[in-house]
């Protein structure tokens, strides 16, 4: 092979056509073929020479990229005037064009209007060179800080989980102690797989250092504790710290167990915290989560479709949690779904199945629809739109029929607004004009007229945004509405007594009112959560103004979710407090128990929870029956 390459090296010569083209470009027409050949050989040789010298400059410049200045310096060595004007860019894109049997690579030089240059504001001055120190190693051990690369790169984590037997450690740093540990971990993993039949959830037992145990304790306590500032910090740490992979199994267990227990306890706040932890874990770029999806996905699905998530389903805003979890699910489908694990199709199946079931409760129904609609426009188009009429009839039965229960009515109301919200944008894109109410009624049944008005609204909004895009102010105007909503949401939590509990749903609502633009990426929205929660200065006056404004405009696509979340929030201050505090001891019990059972978590936990175990199991059963996704999604 080397020989082949060298042959190439030997024979690479610029084509004679290039010589002709260059000659033409400087005004020499009719260059003879022979002179072209002679020229091209000479030029090729000189170019090679210069390139070799330029490489020297690159090496001494301690770079891997050859730059134009290297070429200039090489020319200077040969006493040739360097080429001026090629300094500006690090990367000069060559354009490729072919046609007429000729293939050309050329450097696109646009004609620049001088007045444009003069009139544009000066670019920002580049940052000056600065010096920053960090510890690369402390007594021979590399600390896991953001300045250092993650101790185990994602590929290695992947290799460990997919091929535990032949884990190679290329350039592994912490040879001595940690390597041994991780090897132990992988073997444990292998054993777990063998016992897969007996144990549904195989888990590896890592030994954590004292520091890691402390960290774990701190983080988990902060995540489910009462101080919102601390929680934000903890979540930030989970989302960014590179050295967490060893604690990942713990976190995963913590979340799945936490969800299991708290679903039974109907502890909405804790479920929300746990979902935020899932989100943070997913945001961490250094973690290889695939290995723990079997624990995380059931937990998330539970939070989407569980029959009951809170103590007072009529007033608590568990809908926001369902929305948030649904979005998490969609995100994990997007990132983790492969042809082998088929996460997305399995999830879709699960949702559809329980949605189609007539006996499903409105809460679960809402969750299924939310979960499906978050998966994207295609899913909505193929799965939800055809069933709009059926669903509309069911809603109509609740809304206009004899009053069965208040809870059902609220549920139906939520499902309705959810369907309207998600379907309207899709229909607006796919359905041709005009929007005829009768036609809509014929197509979609009971929901038709409302859908029609939503679609009209969505269309006008889209048109407006298109205009805004033209004015290039879109980027600025869009965050603003969300921000104002966030403030209002926060202000709703103004009550000083239970700030932490209420703040969370408010931040959740932050994400849900995406103002009718599916094109808007979700990451920016998630960012605002952090801003909003940490910004946390609340004033009650804003609540009043906002709620009034919401009542003034009841049917906008963005606001309904906000109102629906806001109103329970205000009420929750009075009612939700005691119930939540009542559940807190149990929640804390879990937190403490996990880190102490560091070596063998499951056994010790089951041993330590003898009193609650019966209720737990009962809850599990309920949970399973409620959410088929949870039971079917433990394949690993």
């Amino acid at each position: 092979m080397a020989e082949e390459r060298r042959q190439k090296q030997c024979s690479v010569v610029l084509p004679t056509e290039s010589m002709k083209a260059m000659a033409e470009s400087v005004g020499v027409g009719q260059l003879q073929e022979e002179s072209c050949a002679a020229l091209s050989e000479e030029v090729s040789y000189r170019i090679k020479e210069i390139a070799q010298d330029a490489l020297k400059f690159m090496h001494h410049g301690k770079r891997r990229k050859l730059t134009t200045s290297d070429i200039d310096n090489a020319l200077k060595l040969k006493n040739v005037e360097p080429l001026y004007g090629f300094q500006s860019q690090e990367f000069i894109p060559f354009r490729f064009a072919s046609g007429g049997g000729r293939e050309l690579h050329f450097y696109e030089e646009k004609e620049v209007d001088l007045s444009d240059i003069i009139n544009t504001p000066l670019p920002r001055v580049p940052l000056d060179v600065s010096l920053k120190a960090h510890w690369l190693s402390i007594d021979g051990v590399q600390p896991a800080i953001p300045e250092n690369p993650p101790p185990a790169p994602k590929e290695q984590q992947k290799a460990e989980s997919t091929e535990p037997l032949k884990v190679v450690k290329p350039g592994q740093e912490e040879e001595g102690t940690i390597q041994g540990k991780s090897q132990g971990a992988t073997t444990a993993d292998g054993k777990g797989k063998e016992k897969g039949l007996m144990r549904l959830k195989p888990r590896s037992t890592h030994e954590l250092s004292v520091e890691q145990q402390l960290y774990y304790k701190e983080i988990t306590e902060a995540c489910v504790g009462s101080c919102e500032a601390k929680r934000a910090e903890a979540l930030q740490s989970i989302a960014t710290d590179p050295g967490l992979y060893q604690m990942l199994p713990r976190f995963s267990t913590f979340i799945s167990e936490g969800v299991r227990v708290n679903v039974v306890q109907n502890n909405l706040a804790l479920l929300i915290y746990l979902m935020r932890m899932v989100k943070a874990l997913m945001d961490n770029p250094t973690l290889y989560l695939e290995k723990y999806l079997h624990e995380l996905i059931p937990a998330v699905v539970t939070c989407i479709v569980s029959k009951q998530l809170c103590l007072r389903p009529d007033v608590d805003n568990h809908w926001a949690l369902r929305d948030f979890a649904a979005r998490l699910m969609a995100q994990s489908c997007k990132t983790f779904s492969t042809t082998t694990n088929n996460i997305q199709s399995r999830i879709t199946k699960t949702f559809t199945k329980s949605w189609l079931d007539d006996k499903t409760q409105w809460t679960t129904r809402y969750g299924c629809i939310a979960g499906l609609s978050e998966l994207g426009a295609d899913v909505i188009k193929t799965l939800i739109l055809p069933r709009l009429a059926v669903e509309g009839a069911r809603i109509k039965a609740v809304m206009e029929g004899p009053v069965v229960s208040n809870i059902d009515k609220i549920g139906a109301d939520h499902v309705q607004s959810l369907l309207l919200k998600h379907c309207a944008s899709v229909i607006a894109k796919t359905r041709p004009l005009p929007d005829n109410v009768e036609q809509y009624r014929a197509d979609y049944g009971y929901l038709g007229p409302m859908l029609c008005s939503h679609v009209v609204k969505a269309r006008t909004q889209a048109a407006l945004q298109a205009q805004q895009v033209n004015r290039t102010t879109l980027t600025i105007t869009q965050p603003r509405p969300t921000l104002s909503v966030s403030q209002s949401g926060l202000s709703g939590s103004g009550g000083p007594r239970t700030p932490s509990i209420i703040k969370v749903p408010s931040s959740l609502t932050l994400m849900s009112p995406r103002p009718g633009t599916p094109s808007q990426p979700s990451p920016p929205a998630t960012k605002y959560i952090v801003m909003a929660t940490s910004a946390g200065a609340a004033s009650t006056q804003q609540v009043i103004t906002l709620s009034s404004s919401q009542s003034a405009s009841p049917v906008t696509s963005t606001v309904p979710s906000a109102t629906s979340t806001l109103q329970p929030l205000v009420k929750l201050e009075s009612g939700g407090g005691p119930g939540l505090t009542g559940s807190r001891p149990l929640q804390k019990y879990i937190v403490v128990s996990l880190p102490s059972s560091a070596s063998s978590s499951l056994e010790s936990k089951s041993a330590m929870l003898p009193t609650s175990i019966s209720s737990l199991e009962a809850g599990m059963k309920m949970d399973r029956s409620d959410s088929p996704g949870a039971s079917t999604q433990s394949p690993h």
Partner: protein
């Protein structure tokens, strides 16, 4: 072009054949030189008649072959000329006539010049233009070896009759290849060394004789056989396909001016010689005589791994004599300093609460420095600057710090503090720390030099002259008063260079800073006024590296012009010029005793130069790529070198031997540093890692039996992984510089490339 010169080529060819017998051993390059510039047949034939009288036994076949060849090619005119000149009658094969005519016309001259022939031919090779004169005036003569081996001359002669046919190069090379492949295993590795230089010279001959296509075919056919570490040179060669290119090509000049050195055992050499004589393979034999220096040794042939360890440089291995000179690698005696340590030391002792333990330690240190090292040069071998009071203070500080130094060992690895240069935009080219680790200097591609203070103490300028005159010079804190508080800042920028700054070095007393740049100058900056004091001009090309002597005052610089220069700060012209490298000097380092200077080069060799005499006292070969990092061990006995091939090699200076190879890095090594006591070697590389190696163990394994020392044949331990103590990966930050603080904390520096 071809059409116009068609006739010319014919005549040239015919001249080829005629001149060939004349040039005998001294290579057809010379003959061609002559031909190129003196196109008149008269001159060439006069040169061509220099047939040595030594060729007593005439070979009919040679002449017949020539004649037949000429006839075959229908070169009737030249047949005539040859006949006339050789005195051959029609259809005659009268050997005597040829001989006598040859001897009569120029044989005497040829013999007389036998001694100077080498020099002559060398000269002619150095410059193409002058070669015309030399070829014409001084008749080239056979080299000594040929003259010694009388029977060879015939063979040599006959070989040249074949030269006209470039196709035979293939055959020759293939024949040799087949021979070496069939030879006994023990000799094969040694003889294989011949391939590369042979290949290069044959290719160059072909190119030189305008057989472009044959040369290309030859290159394509055999370049794959060459050792992979010659790839860079082969790439350069591959680009070279025309005679015109050869002028001014440095690599080529290197090949022609310097003999490729091979070390071959006597047995293997005899084998090769016999083979070539049997086959009358004189083309190859000529090249071997001409361009190769075969260093024959008695003893066992070397193994493949042994050869591979030492080869790779541009001009082959070092000759054994080259490393025989005595090197005083010991350290100089530390100057005795009256220790006013006591009062300050007491404080330290009180702090630690163990006053008794420290005293014996100090004594032992004192006695160690008093002992005279037998390998140390005399104190006054080169004049060193006298210690100033401030230097003494610094020494005291150093000794105090040294007592707090951590003893490193494989179990107690140093902590590493990494200084990242942010927003450097790929522009960081050089970094240096002061010995006391208080300042960092960075050289940048935008021609600036920046100095940072890493201690809370800010950098201040001295006040202007007008302000200085106002100061009370008698006051105690005059040194403090001369500083201008208004200029205090954490970093200072030094402007002056007009090209990227590739080398940077602090003076030991922290008053000066040296920087070398692409613009060909070395600049001396004052760290009191933060201004340029001197620009040392001498290098006309980029200066790749510069370094202050450990004793200050002297500094060394080396660059693209292949010459290392030794300067003194108060002379604007260099004190010494060290010439000998065949390619750019890429890095320069002073020996801890300031008596020697090591230079690493793109020709993949390291040379050690004696500052006093200016001689090259050591040549180390073995790297397979340009050398970018050098480090002397603190005791002065060993040298470590790192190159683009990602390997660190360890050298014993006293014996002139390679003693270790540390493999692990995957990219160019830009920095090497021994810990203060020499237990640990740290290497920093382009592959974003810092690696720590167990230097003590590497040096302990050293086998210093007489045989190894005498022959220079080393058996490298295979297990360099055992010596690797740690690998620390940074986040896309190539490690440009490493420095051990006086307390053995490792500082690393590099620019973060997002």
């Amino acid at each position: 072009m071809a059409a116009v010169q068609g006739g010319l080529i014919d005549t040239e060819e015919e001249k080829d054949i005629k001149t060939e017998p004349s040039s005998d051993g001294c290579g057809n390059n010379n003959a061609n030189d002559g031909r190129l510039h003196n196109a008149s047949p008269g001159t060439t034939s006069s040169g061509g008649s220099n047939k040595p009288a030594a060729g007593a036994a005439e070979d009919q076949q040679t002449l017949l072959a020539v004649l037949q060849f000429l006839k075959k090619n229908k070169l009737t005119e030249s047949v005539e000329i040859l006949r006339r000149e050789a005195g051959l009658s029609e259809e005659t094969d009268d050997p005597k006539g040829l001989e006598s005519s040859g001897a009569g016309s120029g044989g005497v001259g040829g013999n007389a010049d036998a001694g100077s022939g080498d020099a002559n031919s060398l000269l002619s090779r150095v410059s193409v233009s002058s070669s015309a004169v030399s070829a014409a005036s001084a008749a080239p003569a056979p080299p000594k070896v040929v003259a010694e081996d009388q029977p060879d001359v015939n063979v040599v002669l006959s070989a040249y009759s074949q030269q006209g046919d470039p196709a035979l190069y293939d055959v020759y090379y293939n024949g040799l290849k087949r021979f070496i492949e069939t030879v006994l295993d023990c000799h094969r590795a040694e003889l294989s060394q011949v391939f590369y230089p042979l290949f290069v010279h044959m290719y160059l001959e072909l190119v030189y004789n305008n057989h472009e296509n044959v040369a290309k075919a030859f290159f394509e056919k055999f370049s794959g056989d060459q050792e992979c570490y010659y790839e860079d040179d082969l790439r350069i060669l591959s680009g070279l396909s025309k005679k015109e290119h050869m002028r001014g090509n440095e690599t080529l000049l290197d090949f022609r001016t310097s003999k490729f050195v091979l070390r071959i055992s006597r047995d293997s050499y005899q084998l090769l010689k016999r083979h070539l004589q049997e086959r009358q393979n004189n083309q190859i034999w000529n090249i071997i005589q001409e361009h190769l220096y075969i260093d024959i040794f008695d003893g066992m042939p070397r193994s493949k791994s042994q050869i591979d360890a030492m080869s790779g440089s541009l001009a082959g291995e070092a000759k054994r004599e080259a490393n025989k000179a005595k090197v005083f690698y010991g350290l100089l005696k530390e100057p005795e300093i009256e220790v006013p340590l006591d009062d300050e030391d007491e404080e330290a002792e009180n702090e630690e609460g163990k006053p008794k333990k420290k005293k014996p330690k100090k004594d032992s240190m004192g006695s160690k420095s008093k002992k005279q090292d037998p390998n140390a040069p005399s104190q006054t071998r080169i004049p060193l600057p006298e210690l100033k009071d401030s230097d003494k203070l610094d020494k005291i500080m150093y000794m105090k710090e040294a007592t707090k130094k951590i003893r490193l060992a494989p179990e107690t690895l140093p902590s590493i503090c990494f200084y990242s240069f942010l927003n450097a935009y790929q522009g960081l080219t050089a970094v240096d720390f002061t010995d006391d680790s208080s300042l960092i200097a960075g050289g940048f591609a935008d021609s600036t030099v920046r100095v940072w203070s890493v201690t809370p103490k800010k950098l201040r300028r001295v006040k202007s002259a007008a302000d200085l005159s106002l100061i009370d010079k008698e006051s105690d804190d005059v040194l403090e008063r001369i500083m201008d508080e208004k200029t205090a800042s954490e970093s200072k920028i030094l402007y002056g260079h007009s090209g990227p700054v590739y080398g940077i070095s602090f003076s030991p007393d922290r008053n000066y800073l040296l920087s070398s740049s692409e613009d060909g100058t070395v600049r001396l900056w004052s760290l009191q006024t933060y201004s340029c004091l001197v620009g040392y001009k001498g290098h006309n090309y980029p200066v790749w590296d510069t370094q202050f002597s450990p004793h200050g005052y002297y500094f060394i610089s080396g660059g693209h012009d292949r010459v290392a220069r030794l300067w003194a700060t108060d002379h604007y012209q260099p004190l010494r010029m060290f010439a000998g490298h065949l390619a750019d000097i890429t890095c320069t380092r002073f020996h801890p005793n300031s008596n020697y200077v090591a230079t690493g080069s793109s020709d993949r060799t390291i040379r050690l130069w004696d500052v006093l005499t200016g001689n090259c006292v050591r040549i180390f070969t073995g790297h397979k790529g340009p050398i970018h990092a050098l480090a002397f061990s603190p005791n002065g006995k060993f040298l470590a070198s790192g190159a683009t091939d990602g390997r660190v090699l360890l050298w014993d200076i006293g014996h002139g031997l390679m003693i270790g190879e540390l493999k692990g890095h995957t990219d160019t090594i830009y920095s090497l540093k021994f810990s203060r006591d020499g237990e640990i070697l740290a290497s920093g590389s382009m592959d974003n890692t810092v690696r720590l190696w167990d230097a003590l163990k590497a040096f302990d394994d050293l086998e210093t039996d007489d045989f190894t020392a005498a022959t220079g044949h080393i058996h490298l331990p295979e297990n360099s992984q055992e010596l690797l103590l740690g690998t620390y990966l940074s986040k896309s930050t190539p490690v440009v510089h490493l420095h051990f603080t006086r307390r053995n904390l490792l500082l690393a520096a590099g620019a973060y490339n997002p």
